[in-house]
Symmetry: C2
Subunit: 355 residues, 2 copies
């Protein structure tokens, strides 16, 4: 790949504009558009994008608009641009409906787990995705080579890509993001209501309370859409959390010290083991995996990695795939390589480690 | 006060040892003791304390032991040392039972809202209390001059002292600390249980989840005592939080967007208005308040300040109090001075602002 690659970003808010900056930083030519012509002007003036009209051979279109219009825009570009090498992705925080609506092989849903206190173009940063987890939601219809190329593009801007199904994504972000947001809001409102009687409460709110309510300060306007879009998964997760709280309260009121202690201890252990940021790119192991050239085989490899918490740092299809076999080149953390290889072998993949 | 003041610290864990270092830094002579003789040796070797036996005229004894033995130790020192100038305080996180047990005028309950990831003597820092909120729980039996001197001592080490009743303290820390701790644990356990099926969940746990579960990593051994000690207040606060969560879930499931949005918006506003750290000591207003020389009159002034979120940066009894009137010198944030003075005048205090 010696020629300059081109991308087009639709929606130049915090994520879209940061992605444009990151891709330009990685040597791409980037065009961009936004519903607000003033934002496009500003993005041009600040060098966030090279131009507003997509260049000839666009390899990647990223739809970084509000979630409600993603499907429509994706269908529009799929109809307008028939280049089979073009990949379209999005960045919406809930994936089920979009991935159902846009089932084209060239579309892969995405969700970068990145954000900022700042909003919009003004908050854009070229390094926003360095070390961030970027979820892709390939389906059985996603060709390995489409997924592999998209994964590679996102690695160029420093993201750690993981693959999960859209249903799993939505269930897991309910637990990891949406329920925590509702909790933070409820806790903050409870304290604010109590502070109306006892203003001193807010002075007793030490670091722990501040930590737990920080996300409640986020823009309230963007949340109802996200929460309603994912309401089924949130309903399940929140119901289960209410049961956990009720159980804890029961242990407290009945004086069940062993059960309370055990619960606190498990939480402390789990929190201390929460994985940190990405590893440095040293100490990689490079693996060659033989895969069948059919939709689903690549997803099987990447989902195995995700389920084992093995991060794939780089991915490449080694040969132009002809016949019914291909070779996947993967870079993973060397410390994880052996158990990952064993898991792949149990699924009858041929796998060798490069030396 | 030209002579060196002496303090004795019982219990040389994180809080006790930090307090010893802070007082020594402020020019005090500090003795200290601990149930573990090795800890005393280490504290002497590291210069955390000057000596292990209390010096002749001890002005302040701080009981920084586990909560369960505070009352017993306080009674022991009250019986042993009858100097009327001696003040005894503690640092336990739940105040109701201790303040009921130790009703002596020379004992004032306390609770510094400070902590660290580190534990024990090894984590001690001289600046741990700089800018931290330090709650004191004076009662109707607390003489103004005892409260005033203790307040002054804590100001010497940089703490922002607020006065509330022990019952209010316990109700408010349930909301600001104990319920958040249980929530963080429940959220972490829920995610850890889900991650056993889908390990990738932990990679989707972005900054918000990390923030919300950070306190769950704290030492689980210290929490059951605190939680059981304050179980009544926690039961009320947690029940009310469960109702809030259930209401939010109801709004989500029934599609009640206005109510969900309103709740998120109120939380965002409240979180953004959460007071920051202490102001710099510039821009103070100095007030003289005439008070009756009887128990309760000082508490009335300090609790008025606390309820209005006016922080008292310095406090002094201006004259040796004779007859039935004294003068209180207060330093408060200049921006708060006028409304604080108005509130005091409504309660028939004479108050003038120094120029």
């Amino acid at each position: 790949m010696t020629s300059v690659k081109s991308a087009h970003v639709v929606g130049l808010g915090l994520i879209g504009a940061s992605l444009a900056l990151a891709l330009r930083g990685a040597g791409w030519r980037v065009s961009g558009d936004d519903a607000d012509p003033k934002t496009v002007e500003l993005a041009l003036a600040r060098g966030v994008i090279d131009q507003s009209i997509p260049a000839g051979d666009v390899a990647l279109i990223v739809i970084a608009t509000p979630a409600g219009v993603v499907s429509e825009i994706a269908h529009e570009y799929l109809a307008r641009l028939d280049d089979p090498r073009l990949i379209i992705t999005d960045v919406a925080g809930v994936k089920g409906a979009i991935v159902r609506d846009v089932s084209a092989p060239r579309f892969v849903g995405g969700h970068p787990m990145a954000g900022s206190e700042l909003r919009g173009l003004a908050g854009a940063r070229a390094d926003l995705f360095q070390g961030c987890t970027w979820v892709l939601t390939p389906t059985e219809a996603t060709p390995p080579d489409v997924y592999g190329r998209l994964h590679g593009y996102l690695r160029e801007i420093g993201a750690n890509v993981v693959a999960v199904s859209s249903a799993d994504h939505d269930r897991l972000v309910a637990l990891a993001s949406h329920v925590p947001h509702l909790l933070a809001g409820a806790l903050m409102n409870q304290a604010a209501d109590a502070a109306r009687e006892d203003a001193v409460l807010l002075q007793l709110a030490a670091g722990g309370f501040r930590d737990m309510t920080r996300i409640a300060a986020g823009d309230p306007a963007i949340w109802p859409d996200i929460l309603f879009e994912n309401r089924d998964a949130i309903n399940v997760a929140l119901t289960s959390l209410e049961e956990r709280l009720s159980d804890l309260r029961g242990a407290l009121v009945t004086g069940d010290r062993p059960s309370l202690f055990e619960s606190l201890q498990r939480a402390a252990q789990a929190r201390r083991q929460l994985p940190g940021r990405a590893l440095s790119s040293e100490d990689m192991a490079y693996l060659r995996v033989l895969i069948a050239d059919r939709p689903g085989s690549l997803a099987q490899v990447t989902m195995t990695a995700s389920e084992m918490l093995v991060n794939i740092y780089d991915i490449e299809i080694a040969h132009a795939i002809e016949g019914n076999r291909g070779t996947l080149l993967l870079a993973v953390d060397a410390r994880e390589a052996e158990r990952f290889m064993a898991a792949l072998r149990r699924q009858d993949f041929g796998v060798v480690r490069e030396t």
